[in-house]
């Protein structure tokens, strides 16, 4: 006989107990701990990988965009004393002495990252054209052994008599600086140290951010127009045919990005295939070949091609799950084909459409290699400017500031998107 009269056991605190008298919650925690440990162990490699390859670099980028110690590294004593200066007239003799001695020491030690050149580069960001003032003066300063240092310095070059220069020096000897964000948003410091808009001739970043957003939106829109019908066709075809066509869609994935972009150059250039065909069939004359590459058109064409699969795949995977009976049901209820599409089919493909849009847009916003190769002068995106500062001008802090702003834009867009569409509704297939 089994005892059917089982009664819940409780302790004084009202907690449910097991048959052994241990609180049920405690027992459950013990039995699930192993499973949790195992889950943690399984994900540990990925977490470590993400921290090392993703979290730390992004942290470094954020850090570098506001931190630049070139000033205080080269002028450690001056960096401290100049902070007491009231920015009226010129700094005191003591400050000049610190400056000269720091410069002399930096020149003598020549420690990587702490040279006069590093300081000169840093100051030159804020006051263009001062680089050689520092490098030249530092060579001549080796002969200055005693005060007054102010006169000695001004004798070497009378530009040292300019208070604006010293205001800038006071600024750059602070390690945390908003300068690179100002520069990334087309602002600068003026002579007096106030923040003003950069000269219009030198404004490039804000307009480029806008251009990047505009171009990405255009590209996303075109991929939607191209991908939607194709995905629909793919999802309605028999499996074997759709697999075949899917391979064609995925084929670009198996070719190097560089090869594909170069192929577009071969096709679109003035003497390329597309123009040859247009000339051959007589649409344009040989002298009026169309400029289709090395401009925004080229960037858009090549990027649409490259990003198309990222739109087709989520769309296809969502469309495949929509049985034809939905459209049939709508038709049987009296909806015209268009109404049925708009009211029934389209809303159900929204998760795929939204995922594809997000994917393509965010990829486009950060695209680098294709615009670099086919963008010409007006098809360059913000990532090309970032790459320029990382690789060419070596203004890593400005590159980091631009990168951080790009990251913020993406996060804001993502947030907006989440508000509008709901990320939980996305289906990436």
């Amino acid at each position: 006989m089994t005892d059917v009269a089982f009664k819940d056991q409780m302790n004084e605190a009202g907690e449910l107990l097991t048959a052994d008298g241990v609180p049920l919650k405690q027992k459950l925690a013990i039995t699930t701990r192993r499973a949790r440990m195992r889950a943690l162990l399984l994900t540990a490699p990925l977490i470590i990988f993400l921290v090392v390859s993703f979290v730390i670099p992004i942290g470094q980028m954020l850090f570098r965009s506001v931190y630049n110690a070139a000033g205080s590294n080269v002028l450690p004593n001056f960096a401290v004393s100049i902070q007491d200066w009231d920015e009226q007239g010129l700094p005191t003799e003591q400050m000049f002495e610190d400056f000269v001695k720091d410069m002399q020491l930096a020149r003598k030690n020549r420690i990587t990252g702490k040279t006069v050149g590093n300081l000169a580069t840093r100051v030159n960001y804020e006051i263009p054209g001062t680089r050689s003032l520092f490098t030249k003066s530092s060579r001549k300063l080796s002969k200055v052994t005693e005060g007054p240092y102010k006169e000695a310095l001004i004798k070497i070059d009378k530009k040292w008599n300019d208070p604006g220069l010293w205001i800038a020096l006071k600024r750059v000897t602070k390690d945390i600086t908003p300068y690179f964000y100002l520069a990334a948003l087309d602002y600068k410091y003026d002579e007096k140290g106030d923040i003003v808009a950069a000269d219009e001739l030198y404004q490039i970043y804000v307009s480029n951010f806008w251009k990047t957003l505009r171009l990405s939106a255009t590209i996303t829109f075109i991929t939607i127009l191209l991908a939607y019908p194709v995905s629909y066709l793919l999802s309605t075809l028999p499996l074997r045919t759709s697999n075949m066509l899917m391979i064609l869609v995925l084929l670009p994935f198996w070719t190097s990005l560089l090869v594909r972009t170069t192929a577009w150059i071969a096709i679109l250039q003035t003497e390329g295939m597309a123009n040859d065909i247009l000339v051959f069939i007589g649409i344009i004359g040989d002298d009026n070949r169309v400029q289709m590459i090395y401009n925004q058109t080229g960037t858009i064409i090549a990027m649409v091609h490259i990003l198309l699969p990222f739109m087709i795949l989520p769309l296809f995977s969502v469309m495949k799950t929509i049985p034809p009976s939905y459209m049939r049901a709508a038709r049987s209820m009296g909806a015209t084909p268009f109404t049925a599409f708009r009211r029934i089919y389209l809303p159900q493909t929204l998760p795929g459409l939204a995922a594809g849009t997000l994917l393509v847009f965010i990829l486009a916003i950060g695209f680098y290699i294709t615009p670099a190769l086919v963008g010409g002068e007006d098809g360059l995106l913000i990532s090309n400017l970032i790459a320029y500062h990382i690789q060419k001008s070596l203004n890593w802090s400005l590159g980091a500031a631009l990168g951080t702003i790009l990251l913020i834009i993406v996060l804001v867009l993502y947030w907006l998107y989440n508000k509008l569409v709901g990320i939980d509704k996305l289906s990436f297939g």
């Binding site: 590093n118 030159n124 050689s132 480029n208 003035t270 007006d378």
Partner: protein, 361 residues
Amino acid sequence: MKITKFLASTVLGAGLLLGAAVANAGEITVVSWGGAYTKSQVEAYHKPWIAKTGNSIKSEDYSGGTAEIKAQVEAGNVTWDLVDLELSDAVRACDEGLLETIDASTLPPAPDGTPATEDFLPGTLHDCAVANIVWSTIFAYDKSKIANGPTTMADFFDLKKFPGKRGMRKGPKPNLEFALIADGVPAADVYKVLATPEGVDRAFAKLSTIKDSVIWWEAGAQPPQLLADGEVIMTTAYNGRIFNAVANEDKPFEIVWDGQILDLDLWAIPKGSKNKELAMDFLRFSTATEQLAKQASYISYGPARKSSGPLVGKFNGKDIDMGPQMPTAPANLKNAVQNDFEFWADNQDQLNERFNAWLAK
């Protein structure tokens, strides 16, 4: 060139396979600009040095700038031992402590005993770098397509006289100089004018007159290709690249020397190179009078030593006199500008921004 890299590494691989026979032999990594230029260095410098010392060379290509050097030095993991740098980059990298200092007095003297410090052309020896060649940016056109070709820098900017696309290096340097020369500024005054805000405005204004017809290039190998493809009817280019296309590929290109901008390429050793001594040995070997002269027989860049000049003969394997092909040939120097590295060190960042803003307009 990937091929040279491949060959060099095969040679290296074979050497390793032969085992520890050459136990003391070292290897240095020499980085240069690739293409015909690296090839001329491999022929004139690398091969004789390898034959003489038994060491090996890993040849790598890069596209200029000091980004890689900066990254390597700051990470404390320097894998490049010797780099072929442009003057302004060499000076700036030296200022920032990214390069080893080089004592010019240890360089080999000329065959007649003249010390190196006197034998090198003025301005070719620096604290951290030793020049090997003088090169220039010129402009060139396809003479099979233009009958009475352009002869002056002003022609390059004259769309009425010579309609068609132009190729130019993407960046303010040396396009601003070209623009001023085309606008009538004498070669000697170019940097004086450019140092004033009005001068910069004037240069950009001149550039604006042809902006819509310009295709911008970035790598040295691009302009001969743009010309060959017919994408442009004339293009600025490094003179050696055009020469190479003419001499080796029989292209009907013609160089216009008017308004050429002379510049230097220099050897420099990144700070913290693991093979500093060996790299220094190679540097001394390659900047000797004979080697510099030999390089000039493979590519039309002028040797940085006075004593090399008379030794430059004919182009390798062909009946082309190299003398007149040099940027430093007297006929070519008539209206030439010497690149002012200091001006560019001071103004590069700012003018780049302005150039980029101008481009995007």
